[in-house]
């Protein structure tokens, strides 16, 4: 498969670029650890509320930390891509005879890699502070697989932002766009305990369903009725975003 071989070259280059910026990696891991500290400690008492589904708030938060890290990685991806566009490196790739799709694949694959690295780091931190994964090893693998796909989907959003705007100003601040996706969720409080417009908005956010599925696997294990909706939403959202990104990409390179 020529496309796979070509995209592997571009992937290796992207990987090297990423590894050549250790600050980015350290910041990504640190931000996750810090989230446990800042949200986990002060909100610990929430578990005492009637109807709260988990005894351990750190375990409850783990899904939030994972999903949030992956959602915001879309904003990072946008910046990484924009840097390559601005420097003319993308033009350099387009000058070569490689398939356009290989370039896209090599780019999305790095989004997946970053998601995996981040999620593995979070799971290690979670394990270190005593979070128990009810879904077992299979659950951990499923969480990694699901968030990898989510990472690709968010990478697609980043790609669309970078390609559409070509603006550092917009791209640097694109995390604002990801904020409602990450925060209009039951990240801190189960949906039953949220009220009013917020509860309504949470119901419209696709990330919410993915978050619930991930959290269920972590705190309850394989409770299918809470996992299956998230699974379909993830699949649907990813398909739409990958399709859109491919479309934008083709438009931009023709």
């Amino acid at each position: 498969m020529l496309i796979l071989r070509e995209s592997s070259y571009i992937y290796v280059r992207n990987l090297r670029t990423w590894l050549a910026q250790p600050t980015m990696i350290v910041a990504a891991v640190l931000s996750s650890a810090v989230m446990y500290l800042f949200f986990g400690e002060p909100l610990r008492g929430i578990t005492g509320l009637p109807g709260f589904p988990a005894a351990d708030y750190q375990a409850f938060l783990t899904a939030m930390v994972i999903v949030m890290a992956v959602v915001f990685s879309g904003s990072d991806m946008a910046m990484v891509l924009l840097t390559d566009i601005m420097s003319g490196y993308v033009d350099k790739l387009l000058l070569s005879p490689v398939n356009r799709f290989s370039i896209l694949l090599g780019t999305l694959a790095i989004g997946a890699t970053r998601a995996i690295a981040q999620v593995v780091a979070i799971i290690l931190v979670a394990t270190a502070i005593g979070v128990r994964f009810e879904g077992g090893v299979a659950g951990i693998l499923a969480v990694i697989a699901a968030t990898t796909l989510l990472g690709v989907a968010m990478g697609c959003v980043g790609l669309i932002i970078a390609v559409r705007t070509r603006s550092v100003q917009v791209t640097v601040n694109s995390w604002l766009l990801f904020m409602p996706l990450a925060f209009l969720t039951s990240a801190f409080m189960p949906r039953d305990l949220i009220t009013g417009w917020f509860q309504f908005a949470v119901g419209l956010n696709p990330i919410e369903y993915i978050l619930v599925a991930v959290r269920t696997v972590i705190i309850d294990g394989w409770v299918w009725e809470h996992i299956v909706p998230g699974f379909w939403v993830l699949l649907g959202t990813s398909a739409v975003l990958i399709g859109l990104a491919t479309y934008e990409y083709r438009r931009a390179t023709n």
């Binding site: 090297r16 420097s87 993308v90 033009d91 000058l95 005879p97 438009r251 931009a252 023709n254």
Partner: protein, 341 residues
């Protein structure tokens, strides 16, 4: 069978979204093995043309063949057979020089072992062997151009497109690049470069096209272009004279009677004469002035420079500056319909 020309351009047009007409119907041919120069000021359409030939930018009209392949039919085959180094280099600052070369080779389908061998060979050729393991971000301007050139050569292309390969470089680095290019051309590689430097065009290019406002205004060898502008100019300054009154007029009359002289005029300290061939006319002028007992202190023959050629065809002098070609945004900008200024 006759080999197809390296580049065949017929009626090429390019209008950017937003209405800027960058290329206004140009035709030219570059034969295989030629060293062809595209000379013009900023914004003349040089970069746009190179980008269209390299399949990075779409054209609005006309027919283009590169290496005998219609760029509309098989852009990928065109990309495989050419090497390109653009002005906005697009180098990967975080990558090491040698890694960049190997990747560049792999993207063009060069095998792993060959890519590694070739990378070392090219680092040697462009004099960067010592810094192949350093990140490109740490390279100087001249080193960046050289690594970029090496990258364009990884797959041994027969045709090389270079956009202002030496702009912004110090004289030593320019000379080094010129020597590499001459060496490549001697090995049979067709080179087409854009430049706004007369000395560069004069030294390297066997044939030139002058482009201004998206149109070709002149084409030919540097020598022929200069000859077409007009003859050589012979400048004479007089030596000390006992009775200078009226001598200048006598000298002028003497020169005007010579068949080789097309035109003559006085200057504060002597005269100038326009002639077809300065080398042949100079002795005759000296002899005639000697016969008329006009002492000559100095005689110089100047040939028209490419600057004169440019002035002649465009009505202005080329503006030498290292600014980017603003109107010619890169592909991404073009797609956005944005003309970055």
């Amino acid at each position: 069978m006759q080999r197809p020309p390296a580049v065949l351009v017929q009626g090429l047009e390019k209008t950017y979204p937003g209405g800027t007409r960058a290329i206004d119907g140009i035709d030219f041919t570059v034969e295989q093995g030629e060293f062809f120069g595209f000379l013009g000021p900023n914004g003349a359409g040089k970069t746009t043309t190179i980008k269209i030939l390299a399949t990075l930018l779409s054209k609005s009209g006309g027919h283009v063949e590169v290496a005998g392949i219609d760029i509309d039919q098989d852009a990928r085959a065109v990309r495989s057979s050419i090497g390109v180094a653009l002005q906005e280099v697009g180098l990967d600052d975080l990558s090491k020089g040698r890694d960049f070369l190997v990747l560049q080779g792999r993207l063009y389908g060069v095998g792993r072992a060959e890519a590694n061998r070739r990378a070392d060979e090219l680092l040697e050729l462009v004099g960067l062997s010592g810094v192949g393991k350093r990140k490109i971000g740490s390279y100087s301007g001249g080193m960046r151009r050289r690594i970029d050139l090496a990258g364009a050569l990884m797959h041994r292309p027969n045709i090389l497109f270079l956009d202002e390969p030496t702009s912004g470089l110090d004289p030593q680095s320019r000379l080094a690049i010129w020597e590499h290019l001459e060496q490549l051309n001697a090995q049979g590689v067709t080179v087409m470069l854009t430049t706004q430097h007369m000395d560069e065009a004069d030294r390297l290019c066997r044939r030139l096209a002058i482009i201004d406002h998206g149109r070709l205004v002149a084409e030919g060898s540097p020598g022929a272009l200069k000859a077409a502008v007009g003859g050589d100019v012979v400048r004479v300054s007089f030596g000390p004279m006992d009775s200078p009154d009226g001598r200048a007029d006598i000298a002028l009359g003497t020169l005007r009677r010579l068949p080789a002289v097309q035109e003559a005029d006085t200057t504060p300290d002597g005269l100038t004469a326009t002639v077809d061939d300065g080398g042949a006319a100079a002795p005759a002028i000296l002899r005639a002035l000697n016969d008329a007992e006009i002492p000559v202190a100095n005689l110089a023959v100047t040939r028209p420079s490419l600057d004169d050629v440019f002035l002649h065809h465009t009505g202005r002098e080329i503006r030498e500056s290292d600014a980017d070609e603003d109107a010619e945004s890169r592909v991404w900008g073009q797609w956005m319909g944005v003309n970055r200024r």
